[in-house]
Chain length 443, copies 2
């Protein structure tokens, strides 16, 4: 089969640009309006996107003045979207540091049932002390500990999802037996972080379990992705860096004993479209002018762990920043920001403009053909299996991508015109996982 692009829509209220909510047409309460989010989901589904995705963290992040803050919990929100759509995949972010495996595994199994096999889980470890303080801790656990817990969390979850054999429910009215008890398994997990008896209290779901997605690009994050992820979201600012990352994760997956084709790499892209390149750049500049410097500097100060007063708007970043090794938060995001600033010798004002658009993801202002060319180049030159589409402005940026970029890619035979499968895993060309317990029984 011809290799085809995969597209995920990253939904972020009025758009990924932090000032998008200030545009005259922007819906000021988009983040709380389920009708609005459903409209985005329907657009993406009619355009045959593989999936849509919601980021999340169990904390109020930054100053609530800066942009729409606080958001509906993703598994709740996606359940509503599951009923408004019928084909598109639904990927929710959830933290392994601040959840219990039993509860979270059950919610994802439920979402997979309600959506008919369209659930995905973006597995995050949740950086930041403020999040930790919402859960009885004084500070976040160390980066490596968070990833160790995440790995055990996924192992427990898979056991729970597998705890009902696919054929456990027989609903035999004559015998009066609803499920065969010997096809429902206690898991008795005993590990470093968790002790869980099981079985799960939901029968096995259409996909077996949700598509496993991962978005951390640190060393720990890449190793985790290589072991568990079926799709990887990543921020790669240049083609060359994207190629290195792509090759590295595929190599690590092979080393972990997996077929590298079963790990789909999806860099983020923030398309800003115009009829001409100049028009696109003008829209980008208009958005950057709407950024409130005070909020953006506070945000940058948090991300870098540097006091705001040391970030003068018209100077470059201070020379004495810590190294990634000393960062316990979002390591790869930290390095990406610092390298971007150093490489292009940006002032703080220029840097917040660049980050305001896509937070370090590849922002691309241009014509539809220019955007399509870039996508094709990354796809064909070993940097991407598809893209995480992050419109700077929603819904207009999604609409113009769908109406103007996708037809170019379809004309080149690079993107589907119809869904071929019905589950999220089928959209990404991945097989339904077998149950670890049923396999044991069959041997």
């Amino acid at each position: 089969m011809t290799r085809r692009l995969h597209f995920n829509l990253f939904i972020h209220d009025t758009g990924h640009h932090e000032a998008s909510w200030r545009l005259p047409d922007a819906h000021p309460l988009a983040h709380l309006d389920i009708d609005y989010v459903e409209r985005l989901a329907r657009i993406a589904e009619s355009a045959k996107f593989d999936s849509l995705f919601l980021a999340d963290s169990p904390v109020l992040w930054g100053d609530p003045g800066r942009r729409p803050s606080g958001s509906l919990e993703p598994t709740v929100l996606l359940t509503a979207l599951a009923r408004a759509t019928s084909r598109i995949g639904l990927i929710a972010t959830a933290s392994t540091s601040y959840n219990d495996p039993f509860n979270l595994a059950r919610r994802f199994a439920s979402l997979d049932h309600v959506s008919g096999g369209r659930a995905g889980w973006n597995i995050v470890t949740t950086a930041g002390d403020d999040a930790a303080r919402n859960f009885g801790l004084d500070a976040q656990p160390a980066h490596a500990d968070r990833y160790e817990r995440a790995a055990e969390f996924v192992e427990v979850s898979k056991k729970l999802w597998d705890s009902w054999d696919d054929d456990a429910v027989v609903a035999d009215k004559d015998r009066g037996v609803h499920a065969e008890a010997d096809r429902v398994h206690v898991i008795n997990h005993e590990g470093t972080y968790f002790r869980v008896r099981g079985p799960l209290n939901v029968p096995r779901s259409p996909q077996g379990y949700p598509l496993l997605v991962q978005a951390g690009s640190s060393e720990d994050g890449r190793d985790f992705a290589a072991r568990y992820a079926e799709a990887v979201f990543t921020a790669q600012p240049t083609l060359a860096e994207g190629q290195v990352f792509y090759a590295d994760v595929k190599r690590r997956a092979a080393e972990a004993g997996r077929d590298p084709d079963t790990v789909k790499i999806l860099p983020g892209i923030v398309p800003v479209l115009g009829e001409t390149e100049a028009q696109a750049r003008e829209l980008e500049a208009e958005l950057d002018r709407l950024i409130v410097p005070k909020y953006a500097v506070e945000q940058l100060s948090k991300q870098l762990g540097v006091p705001a007063e040391r970030l003068a708007l018209d100077d470059q970043l201070p020379a004495d920043l810590p190294s990634e090794d000393d960062i316990e938060g979002m390591k790869s995001r930290y390095t990406l920001i610092v390298e971007l600033a150093r490489r292009e010798r940006l002032t703080v004002r220029q840097l917040i403009g660049r980050l305001g658009g896509g937070r370090g993801h590849r922002t691309f202002a241009g014509t539809p053909v220019q955007v399509a060319d870039t996508i094709q180049q990354w796809f064909e030159q070993g940097a991407a299996d598809g893209f995480n589409i992050m419109p700077a402005v929603l819904p207009s940026g999604l609409e113009s991508f769908v109406e103007r970029v996708l037809p170019v890619l379809r004309a080149r035979g690079l993107f589907r015109t119809e869904y071929e499968g019905s589950t999220l895993r089928e959209h990404y060309g991945l097989a339904r996982p077998a149950s670890q317990y049923a396999l044991v029984t069959a041997q």
Copy 2:
């Protein structure tokens, strides 16, 4: 205003009778079929029920052969129902023993946003060692400890729900200020069970917070209800017992400084309807014949903490049962079962027939007028503000209640013909709670 009945529909897959799934028309996978549950919700809404409700426990309870087992997580399921309905209240059960306040408060706030102010939370402490073993414990915490934790859990949740003032979000595009930071409050809760910084990462929801519901009838449970509950579900087998319970909870609420009218008492009723009383009794007998004794005895053995081999089908219960004080599980359910068996000198076989229908709730087989008479009697003689309707068979038992009992009650002026309000709290005639932080600011 005339005092009117309140009705809640307790949804339980194919019906509350444990053998209902074996009837020829029963949908064998009802518990996993969101279309089926939506159909029930639409029937209840078109009949102007105040609310619908889902029980829950984070454990697979009993033998999965016995009846449809495992169920979709309630906040997920109710979000789907929120989009299929527009007026009826949506009450989900969730455990205070096996959740974190931050995550749970956020899910309920999200459900309240998505549903436009129709969320309710049935607060349970979750009995049973098997549930505890899904969360790293060897055995359940003591009954009193579970209730102490529940009280603190509710206090933390209320602080989180109140952490955004109602007017915090201003979305001022000109100034570039989305929410006023001084109207969003860190809660800094430090208690016995929880330390939570806050604020919540969801703005205050339409109802301020979900309707608080409680269903435990032990001493601890009644005290908890008196302090926090706005609606109480309870199992009361006779009018006299219902009257005592009703007076007791209202008295405790007054002692806790609350207006007793703001605590609505809703006993469960399992209506089994026939054109004649004989017809109703025949349907009841048919259901009881479908009970598989092996499963029912195992269930009873668990509930009483007595080995199954000591429960001979044609004997009465053993004389040397423990007292309620020694029970750490569902105390009031335990006492209810034992008293029912002793009072009516039931054999184990007779007892499992009685429990198979409504698990100790008032089962009532009769004509529509007989059922309406009983409801009116309880309502007017100080035993109920409304009822938790638990059809033995679904959907048919709900349909016949709606088509044949409700018209009788409406003709007597006892039940609404149209919704007057739009939120769940409005249906129950309760005021929207003010925020504790906004009150402080205003003084």
